[in-house]
Every structure is written in structure tokens, then in C-alpha cells.
């Protein structure tokens, strides 16, 4: 237990995290980009068309991972918010700042690809059903988080306000997830559940799986890189950052 606690405190130190991020970040980014390229080529060019939707179903190879990431990133922001509020760990705030724009981009992409998918299949770009509306709320939560951060000049206050919004906002996640089961929606229910076999053959879901894993890896890589930048900026007056800058510029 003591070692776990020690590890937790060490990880919370921006300097240790910076070292880990510098080493691991590029690997995750590289792996993520490679997996996404493979998955999209596979899914867009080689997977069979759907018996009902033809080729238009292929946009799912972009739509599903971005929608999953939009929610996973927010869950991570909520967890980081909890850590910041309870343990006052500075690093948690830095991670929130670094990850929020990525989550916002994923949410926007999920909405845009959903609209592009909706036009040929449903016959409408947008429908105000529970799934699409709760996803739009999610986008506004990301906007709110980023705007709130920039509206409060004092770093510590801004961090805490954002942490509260991040924690409270996680309430929307189960609403998005179960919207298609709780209410009548135009959006179809989930193809993948933990309890039943996927209603899609492997030659269709394997590229999707690779795409989802690729987006997660890309997210990890970009969060490492962006958090590193935030660390350098915020810790610029500390001895270790000064030494690092001297070392790299000399």
C-alpha cells in the first residue's frame, strides 16, 4: 500500500510526468496514426458493403471511434476533476487543460460524421432525438469547460471551477449511452454490447476495433504531448525546467 501511495505521489509530480510523457508520447502517437491509417484503408476499401446501407455504412469507421472518444475523454476529465478537487494535484488540472480540446474535436467530428451518415440513410441531416441531442449537450459541455477556463484569470480558481464542471458533466455520459434504450429514438441501438455477440460479422467489426484502439492511442499520445507543453509553461520558473531549457538551447 505504501508503494502504491508513493507511486501516486510520484506520478503527480509534473517533473516525473514530463519524463514519462516525453518517452511514451511519441510511441502512442505513432501507433495511433498507424492504426487509424490501417483501419480506415481496411474499412473504407476492403470491408464488404452492408446489405441494406451499401457503402454509406463505412462512415462508421470514423463515426463510432470519435463518438466513443468523445465520451471516454469526458470521463477522464471527470476523473481528473475529482483528483484535483480531493487531492489538489496540480497535474490533474494540467491534464484537463490538455485533453479538453481533443474531446471537443472528437464530439464535433462524431456529430458531423453522424449528420453525413444520416442524410443518405435516414433522409435527414439532423433529428432532435435523445441520442443526437444529448451528444450536442456534450459538445456544449466541452465549450463550457474551455470557455470557463479562459474566463477566470486566476489559475487556481479557474482550475477548481473547471474541475467541478468536469465532475458534474459526467452525468450526461450515461444519458448518451442509454438514450437509445430509455427513449424512442431514430438513432439505432448499440451493435456492440457486453452481453451478446455483435450483430456484425468480423470482416466488418475488426477494422472498427482497430480504428477505436488507434483513436485511443492517438489520444494518449496527444495528451502526453500537450500536457508536456502545459507543464513547461506553468513550471517555467522552477529549477528543473530552467536547467532543461539551458540544456536544450546550448
Amino acid at each position: 500500500m505504501a508503494s502504491l501511495k508513493e507511486w501516486w505521489h510520484r506520478l503527480g509530480s509534473p517533473r516525473t510526468f514530463y519524463a514519462i510523457a516525453q518517452r511514451a508520447g511519441p510511441w502512442f502517437t505513432g501507433l495511433g496514426v498507424a492504426a487509424i491509417v490501417v483501419a480506415l484503408t481496411w474499412g473504407l476499401a476492403f470491408a464488404p458493403p452492408d446489405y441494406q446501407q451499401g457503402n454509406s455504412f463505412r462512415i462508421m469507421y470514423l463515426h463510432v471511434p470519435t463518438a466513443i472518444l468523445a465520451q471516454s475523454v469526458y470521463m477522464m476529465l471527470g476523473a481528473a476533476g475529482l483528483v484535483l478537487l480531493v487531492w489538489r494535484m496540480k497535474l490533474a488540472d494540467m491534464v484537463i487543460v490538455a485533453a479538453a480540446p481533443f474531446g471537443m474535436s472528437m464530439t464535433a467530428l462524431a456529430l458531423v460524421t453522424g449528420a453525413i451518415w444520416g442524410k443518405p440513410t435516414w433522409g435527414a441531416w439532423w433529428v432532435w432525438d435523445a441520442r443526437t441531442t444529448s451528444m450536442l449537450v456534450q459538445l456544449f459541455l466541452y465549450f463550457g469547460l474551455i470557455a470557463l477556463r479562459q474566463a477566470i484569470p486566476r489559475e487556481e480558481t479557474a482550475g477548481r471551477a473547471c474541475a467541478i464542471l468536469a465532475v458534474v458533466g459526467t452525468v450526461n455520459i450515461p444519458i448518451i449511452k442509454y438514450s437509445v434504450d430509455w427513449w424512442l429514438t431514430l438513432h439505432q441501438p448499440s451493435t456492440f454490447t457486453l452481453t451478446a455477440a455483435p450483430s456484425m460479422p468480423p470482416e466488418m467489426y475488426l477494422p472498427l476495433l482497430v480504428s477505436v484502439l488507434g483513436f485511443y492511442a492517438l489520444f494518449a499520445g496527444l495528451v502526453f504531448a500537450r500536457t508536456s507543453n502545459v507543464i513547461l509553461d506553468r513550471e517555467r520558473s522552477t529549477a528543473w525546467v530552467r536547467a532543461l531549457v539551458r540544456e536544450q538551447t546550448s
Binding site: 480531493v86 458534474v168 439505432q188
Partner: protein, 142 residues
């Protein structure tokens, strides 16, 4: 965990629980309004308002689609496949995925005679995907 942190944790969890319960109550209260459409059984049971602009959703009943010869007019029946059927009339372009046995979402008005006059028809696709060869084998996916 030291007492200060424990108290902060309890405060945050209370906040989360409070917001969660509030949201759950609001959504429960608004339940009827969040549903995008009326299913056929609700329309048959008279729960849908007559003459107001509403949405009706269901499966297009097999063998019920009748196209007019000289116009885009079409009549079909939407069903919940459990006995509740609602006749629909529509004039206009149908989405590509419109076919018998598929889900549709119609926007329009329910007449006093029980016929739904649609102004817009959207297709609802399900969560099952398969290649065309398999799709031909399973004419009706489970």
C-alpha cells in the same frame, strides 16, 4: 486517507449524486416529450393527439405498400409487428432505405379517421450489419 481529503471526497460525491438525482427526476418527468415519435400501439390506443403535428414510427408492414400509378403518392401501414397497425398516406420522395419490413419515422398529422397523413418520411435503420450475400440469406435479420 486524511480527514480533510475524505471530507472533500464526500462533498464532491454529494454534489455528483445531487446533480445526478436532479437530472434523473427531470428526465423522468419529461419522459413523454423526449420520445421522438409515437409507436403504433400508442396511436391505436388514442394517446396521440389528432390534428397536431406529430411523428409516428414503426415497421413498414410487409405487403402494405401501394404506389399510385401516375404520382409520387404512396400508402402503407406502419406496424409494431404485435397487432397495432396505423395506415399512412404520403406524397413525395421516399428515402433510399424505405422498404417493407424496415423501420420508418413519419412526420405529419393524424386524421380523425385514424389515417396518418405524412409530410416527411425518414428511414430508421437497425443495428445489424452484414455483407450483401449474407443479407440475401437472412431476408429477415433477427
Amino acid at each position: 486517507m486524511n480527514p480533510i481529503r475524505r471530507n472533500r471526497l464526500i462533498a464532491v460525491l454529494f454534489l455528483l449524486a445531487g446533480v445526478g438525482v436532479t437530472t434523473a427526476l427531470v428526465l423522468t418527468a419529461l419522459n413523454e416529450n423526449i420520445n421522438l415519435f409515437y409507436p403504433p400501439d400508442a396511436i391505436v390506443a388514442g394517446e396521440a393527439p389528432v390534428g397536431a403535428r406529430i411523428r409516428a414510427g414503426g415497421m413498414v408492414k410487409e405487403g402494405s405498400v401501394e404506389h399510385a400509378d401516375d404520382r409520387l403518392a404512396v400508402r402503407f401501414v406502419i406496424s409494431d409487428l404485435a397487432g397495432a397497425d396505423v395506415p399512412v398516406v404520403y406524397e413525395g420522395m421516399l428515402p433510399d432505405l424505405f422498404r417493407e419490413g424496415q423501420g420508418v419515422l413519419c412526420t405529419g398529422r393524424l386524421g380523425a379517421d385514424g389515417v396518418f397523413v405524412a409530410e416527411e418520411v425518414l428511414a430508421k435503420h437497425d443495428e445489424n450489419y452484414m455483407p450483401p450475400e449474407l443479407g440475401a440469406m437472412h431476408k429477415k435479420p433477427a
